[in-house]
C-alpha cells in the first residue's frame, strides 16, 4: 500500500472501523509501521476514539431547567433601588395618612336622605342637610330623564371648587328606586347639584342644596 492509496482509501478510518479485509489490513500495517505520517494519523484517531469512549460513557448531567423570564429583573437594578423605595414610602404615606383616614371618616359620617322628584320640583325647592352629613338623593325618575349613566356636579352657589362624580343609571323598569350619594360631606352653604345625561352632558336637571 502506498501513502497516496492510504490517504485516498481512508485507510486509517477503515482500519479502526474494522472495515478492512485481512490482506488489506496486513498491507496497511506494513505501511504505517514505516510511514510516520500515517502512524501519526492512526495515533491521533486511536487516542481520539479511546478518549471518546470515556467521554461518551460519562453520565450525562441532568439538563438545567430553562431560566424563567424574569419580568421584574429591572426592579433589582441597583441604581433604581432608592427611587423605588422612596416611591413606595410616598404611596404608603398617602394611603396611611390621607386616603384611608378620609375613607374612614366618610364611612362613619351620618347620612341625610332627601327625596326629590327631578323635573317636578325644579330649582325652586332646596334639599337640606346638616354639615358633616353625607347627602343621599332618592328620586323617582320620569322615563324622559332616564340614562344609563349620569354625571353629577355639586357646585357652591357662590363659586368655588365643585364636587364631581359619575353614577350608573337605574334599570329602565325600576326608575322609582334611583338613589345616589354625594361621596363626601359638604361644608355649610348653598350649592347647586346638576345631574347631566352622560356622555355628552347636553341635557341636565338641577337641584338646590342647602347645608346648615
Amino acid at each position: 500500500m502506498t501513502h497516496a492509496n492510504a490517504m485516498k482509501l481512508y485507510a486509517v478510518e477503515r482500519y479502526l472501523l474494522g472495515e478492512m479485509p485481512e490482506n488489506e489490513q496486513d498491507a496497511f500495517e506494513q505501511h504505517y509501521f514505516e510511514c510516520r505520517e500515517c502512524a501519526d494519523d492512526l495515533r491521533a484517531a486511536s487516542i481520539f476514539l479511546e478518549n471518546l469512549k470515556q467521554v461518551a460513557a460519562e453520565p450525562v448531567p441532568a439538563p438545567r431547567p430553562e431560566p424563567q423570564r424574569d419580568w421584574f429583573a429591572w426592579m433589582r437594578w441597583a441604581p433604581l433601588q432608592p427611587v423605588l423605595t422612596g416611591l413606595l414610602l410616598v404611596i404608603l404615606g398617602y394611603q396611611s395618612f390621607y386616603r384611608i383616614p378620609n375613607l374612614e371618616r366618610t364611612a362613619a359620617a351620618p347620612v341625610a336622605q332627601a327625596h326629590v322628584d327631578f323635573g317636578v320640583r325644579g330649582e325652586g325647592d332646596a334639599v337640606r342637610a346638616q354639615h358633616g352629613e353625607l347627602l343621599q338623593i332618592e328620586t323617582n325618575l320620569t322615563p324622559s330623564l332616564w340614562a344609563s349613566r349620569y354625571h353629577v356636579v355639586v357646585r357652591p352657589a357662590g363659586g368655588g371648587k365643585a364636587v364631581e362624580f359619575d353614577i350608573d343609571g337605574p334599570p329602565r323598569d325600576r326608575l322609582s328606586d334611583f338613589k345616589f350619594k354625594v361621596p363626601q360631606p359638604l361644608g355649610p352653604g348653598d350649592y347647586v347639584l346638576t345631574l347631566h345625561w352622560a356622555p355628552d352632558k347636553s341635557e341636565s336637571t338641577r337641584l338646590r342644596v342647602e347645608i346648615q
Partner: protein, 201 residues
C-alpha cells in the same frame, strides 16, 4: 510531527529519523533512544494488536516479547537495512503473535462476538486516556452537529453493528469514515495547538 507526554507531564515535540545512527544508539543501549523507540512502536504495536486480539493481557504480553526479541536481535548483529526498522518490528510482532495464538489454541482472528474479558485494562491502553485529552475530545465534539456526535458515540461506545447504526442515522459507511476523519483532524490540530502553547510557555 510526533507529540507525546513525558513522564514529568510536560509535552515535547520531536521527529526522530530511523536511520543507521538511531539503530546504532538502540543497539548500544542508549536510554533516551530506547525510551523513544518503545514509546513510538509501543503505541503502534498496541493499535495493531488491538485490531486483532481482544485480550488486553495477551496484547501486553506480545508487546513485551516483541520488544525483547527486537533488542536481542539488534545487539546480536543489528539490521542490514536500518531504514526498515518499522518493518522489522512488525515482522517480529507478527511472529510473536502467531506463536502466542497457537500456544493459546486460538484462531488468528477472534470472532466479533467473543465475550469481553473482565476489566483487565493494561497501563499501555489506559495511558491513551488522560483528563486533558478528554477535555480536548469534548471541545472537538462541541464543534460538531448533535447528530454527528451521537453517531460517533453510538458507533464506538455501544457495541452495535455499524451498519445498523448507519441505518438508524440514515447515513452510509463513507459518511462515517469522513466523519471520523474530520474529528481526528480536529483532535490532532487541537493537540498540536496545545503542545505548541505549552512549549511556548
Amino acid at each position: 510531527m510526533y507529540y507525546h507526554d513525558r513522564d514529568d507531564g510536560e509535552h515535547r515535540l520531536e521527529r526522530q529519523t530511523f536511520d543507521a545512527a538511531y539503530v546504532e544508539r538502540l543497539k548500544d543501549g542508549d536510554a533516551a533512544t530506547q525510551a523513544d523507540f518503545t514509546r513510538y512502536f509501543g503505541e503502534l504495536l498496541l493499535f495493531k494488536l488491538r485490531a486483532r486480539i481482544r485480550s488486553p493481557q495477551l496484547v501486553e504480553d506480545i508487546r513485551q516479547e516483541t520488544f525483547l526479541r527486537v533488542f536481542v536481535t539488534l545487539r546480536r548483529g543489528g539490521l542490514q537495512s536500518p531504514e526498515r526498522l518499522g518493518a522489522f518490528v512488525l515482522s517480529v510482532c507478527n511472529n510473536v503473535m502467531f506463536e502466542a495464538l497457537r500456544a493459546e489454541g486460538r484462531a488468528s482472528q477472534m470472532p466479533e462476538n467473543a465475550p469481553e474479558p473482565p476489566d483487565e485494562r493494561e497501563d499501555a491502553e489506559a495511558a491513551l486516556v488522560t483528563e486533558e485529552r478528554k477535555t480536548t475530545v469534548r471541545t472537538v465534539l462541541a464543534t460538531m452537529p448533535a447528530k454527528d456526535r451521537d453517531l460517533l458515540s453510538s458507533v464506538f461506545l455501544e457495541e452495535i453493528d455499524k451498519d445498523e447504526v448507519c441505518r438508524r442515522y440514515k447515513v452510509d459507511r463513507q459518511y462515517l469514515r469522513v466523519l471520523l476523519h474530520r474529528a481526528r483532524n480536529r483532535f490532532r490540530d487541537a493537540l498540536e495547538r496545545d503542545a505548541a502553547r505549552k512549549m511556548g510557555a
